[in-house]
């Protein structure tokens, strides 16, 4: 059994609830957001109880100062605290220093937000970074390398050693959540796919699961298996791309070319099976919009996996490559738990979590999912997790196809209500909380896995690393700025 439970709190209980939950072993902070309901701000806090196969959604009306400073007991909540302040003007108690996230400097009160603007904007995140002595701040971005997303990285360094790092992301904020308000489900799906295109299937499946729960419809099992195949193909090409990026960042041109061959083969496979290289437009409300070509999958996937295996064997045998990966960009298991990390990054740091297994949905209720876990938390562990996941994804895709794939949709009637949807995207748990009013969106909270995992990037980058390790660490996280800034 998997599911969600709802919990209504009154403001005085919030602090004790948070303390109790944060101190309960096996409880993971998953999300934290606001929504305006009948002119009143309501705060929601999502906990994942992975061992109990349950998401617990606590909500309370925020009046006056809002809520106690959560991040003091659950450090993972800091980004969301900043976000709620920026979007709704409510802060976790007086005097708490918060960072600016997506509101560009200079665009003050009139900037479009989800709620009311705060009385005073946050200062720039520079504030807390005291640069002195031999250290200086090396500005990198927002325009970065070839084919890289825009983002500003402030690297505080003494020349070689990295002392600190921070990210500015407002250059990519498209106001996705605000745009979704008032939209119909079909149009919202189009936007959510493009919020973070590299996790299009993961994010949009989470969205559709929420919508379908509200409307009380269940897609046909064979159609759900097609969705599963799409999700596994998405993971496969993303991990291949990450391996190519790892080779590139370590200067291994031959390995990079080999990995890009695998990547291109997988993208062509996506196009052959589902008609789109990046699987856009495959999922539809109530099912899928296109029939999957199972023959193309069965004939083309195994030889591509063979190519991948040869590449991986060669990479593990290349000392100059392995040396750069080992002990690089470490995220300790304690840190991973503290920051609520998800996906391959969490699993490489000893967190045995995967929503396909812990909160099994759709076809995953029928098939067992093997979850690879590594303990060292370095780039090597992340690469190793990705390789193991690719094997598992290929197996799952073929198994699902073997059980029979269907296409088509069941009608999703315009409904009213709210629900939480989740999915295991290539970047980990993707959460979508949706509130519908007669089939139109009142509020949709979009929380891709990227949002959680960027939280650990600066820690990973700081841990005993030098300047040139940053691209390697970034490749091993394989996140998107689009998903972070939304």
């Amino acid at each position: 059994m998997t599911g969600t439970s709802d919990l209504l709190l009154v403001s005085v209980d919030v602090e004790s609830h948070v303390c109790a939950m944060a101190q309960t072993p096996g409880v993971r902070f998953a999300d934290f957001f606001g929504s305006v309901e009948d002119g009143q701000l309501v705060i929601r806090l999502v906990w994942a109880l992975d061992a109990e196969h349950e998401y617990r959604v606590a909500r309370w009306p925020a009046r006056g100062t809002g809520y106690p400073p959560l991040s003091e007991v659950t450090p993972a909540a800091f980004v969301e605290e900043c976000e709620i302040y920026e979007q709704f003007g409510v802060s976790p108690g007086k005097g708490k220093a918060l960072n600016r996230l997506v509101i560009p400097p200079g665009a003050e009160h009139a900037f479009p937000r989800l709620g009311e603007a705060p009385a005073r904007e946050h200062p720039l995140p520079h504030a807390s970074h005291y640069v002195s002595g031999d250290a200086f701040e090396f500005p990198f971005g927002p325009v970065r390398g070839v084919g890289q997303e825009s983002m500003y990285l402030g690297l505080v360094t003494s020349g070689e050693e990295l002392i600190d790092l921070y990210l500015l992301q407002w250059h990519k904020h498209r106001g996705i959540e605000r745009r979704l308000g008032g939209e119909e489900v079909a149009r919202a799906l189009f936007v959510i796919e493009r919020a973070e295109g590299l996790s299009a299937v993961g994010n949009s499946w989470a969205f559709l699961r929420a919508v379908e729960e509200i409307a009380e419809v269940t897609p046909h099992p064979a159609v759900d298996r097609s969705r599963g195949v799409a999700l596994e193909l998405e993971r496969l090409y993303n991990h291949a791309a990450a391996i190519a990026a790892l080779c590139q960042s370590t200067g291994l041109a031959v390995g990079q070319a080999q990995a890009e061959i695998v990547l291109e083969q997988l993208l062509r496979l996506n196009a052959a099976v589902f008609g789109h290289r990046y699987l856009f437009g495959v999922l539809a409300p109530g099912g899928t919009s296109r029939a999957a070509d199972a023959d193309a999958l069965v004939t083309s996937l195994p030889p591509t996996m063979d190519t991948l295996r040869r590449l991986v064997d060669a990479l593990w045998a290349t000392n100059s490559f392995v040396d750069r990966l080992e002990s690089c960009g470490i995220v300790t298991p304690a840190e991973a738990a503290r920051l609520g990390l998800v996906g391959p990054v969490a699993r490489a740091s000893g967190q045995d979590i995967d929503t396909r297994r812990d909160h099994a949905f759709g076809p995953y209720a029928e098939v067992a999912v093997e979850v690879p876990v590594r303990a060292t938390g370095d780039v090597m562990a992340r690469m190793s997790v990705m390789v193991a996941e690719m094997e598992e994804s290929a197996r799952l895709a073929l198994d699902l196809a073997g059980a029979g794939l269907g296409a088509g949709t069941v009608e999703v009637p315009p409904a009213t209500g709210s629900a939480l949807g989740w999915c295991e995207s290539p970047r980990g748990e993707s959460l979508l909380w949706v509130d519908l009013d007669g089939g139109r969106i009142r509020r949709a909270r979009v929380r891709p896995g990227s949002v959680r995992n960027w939280r650990a990037f600066d820690d990973a980058a700081r841990s005993r690393n030098v300047f040139t390790d940053i691209p390697i660490i970034e490749a091993s996280f394989w996140l998107t700025v689009a998903g972070l800034a939304r």
């Binding site: 498209r174 493009r194 190519a244």
Partner: protein
């Protein structure tokens, strides 16, 4: 899938055009004005073995000052205006802008407080490559069209020869 012969012909045309105009080197800079990260993925694949842009005499450059052509993705986020302007201004004349994908055509996001929607509002565009995302092959075709446009631009530039410069007061 497009037959290989078509790709071959396309590649040969592009190679000839770049050789004629740039003596084997046209340099390309990329910039993202709010993409979903997928157009970037296709752009990165241009240098992968299946497409290998280098064999056509086209190269990516990290510096706008060396760039002849700007590949732009995304719906032109307003908060990115200054960075985009600086990148464009840093490029030497004659220069080209190729808009990549549906985003800069205004097909994903309409103009609003966050985005310009159409890149054309902030940059002069020489070639649009449609698609969400455009495939690497479509991008190569777009680059070919752009190189043709550059020929027109070079023709209109009115070069001064050394002699003329010496004569000037």
């Amino acid at each position: 899938m497009i037959p290989d012969r078509h790709e071959e012909r396309l590649s040969a045309k592009l190679r000839d055009a770049t050789h004629r105009l740039f003596g084997r080197s046209l340099h390309v800079r990329t910039v993202d004005t709010g993409s979903c990260a997928v157009c970037e993925s296709e752009i990165r694949l241009l240098t992968a073995p299946h497409y290998d842009l280098h064999r056509l005499g086209l190269f990516f450059t990290p510096s706008p000052r060396h760039a002849d052509l700007l590949l732009v993705t995304g719906p032109a986020i307003r908060a990115f205006d200054r960075a985009l302007e600086k990148t464009y201004d840093a490029m030497p004349e004659p220069k080209l802008v190729v808009a990549v994908g549906t985003c800069p055509m205004g097909g994903i996001y309409q103009e609003d407080e966050f985005v310009h929607g159409q890149l054309e509002r902030v940059l002069p565009i020489d070639v649009f490559v449609p698609g969400c995302p455009p495939s690497p092959l479509a991008l190569i075709q777009g680059l070919l069209v752009a190189v043709g446009r550059l020929a027109e631009k070079v023709g209109a530039e009115g070069f001064t020869t050394l002699d003329e410069q010496e004569e000037a007061p």
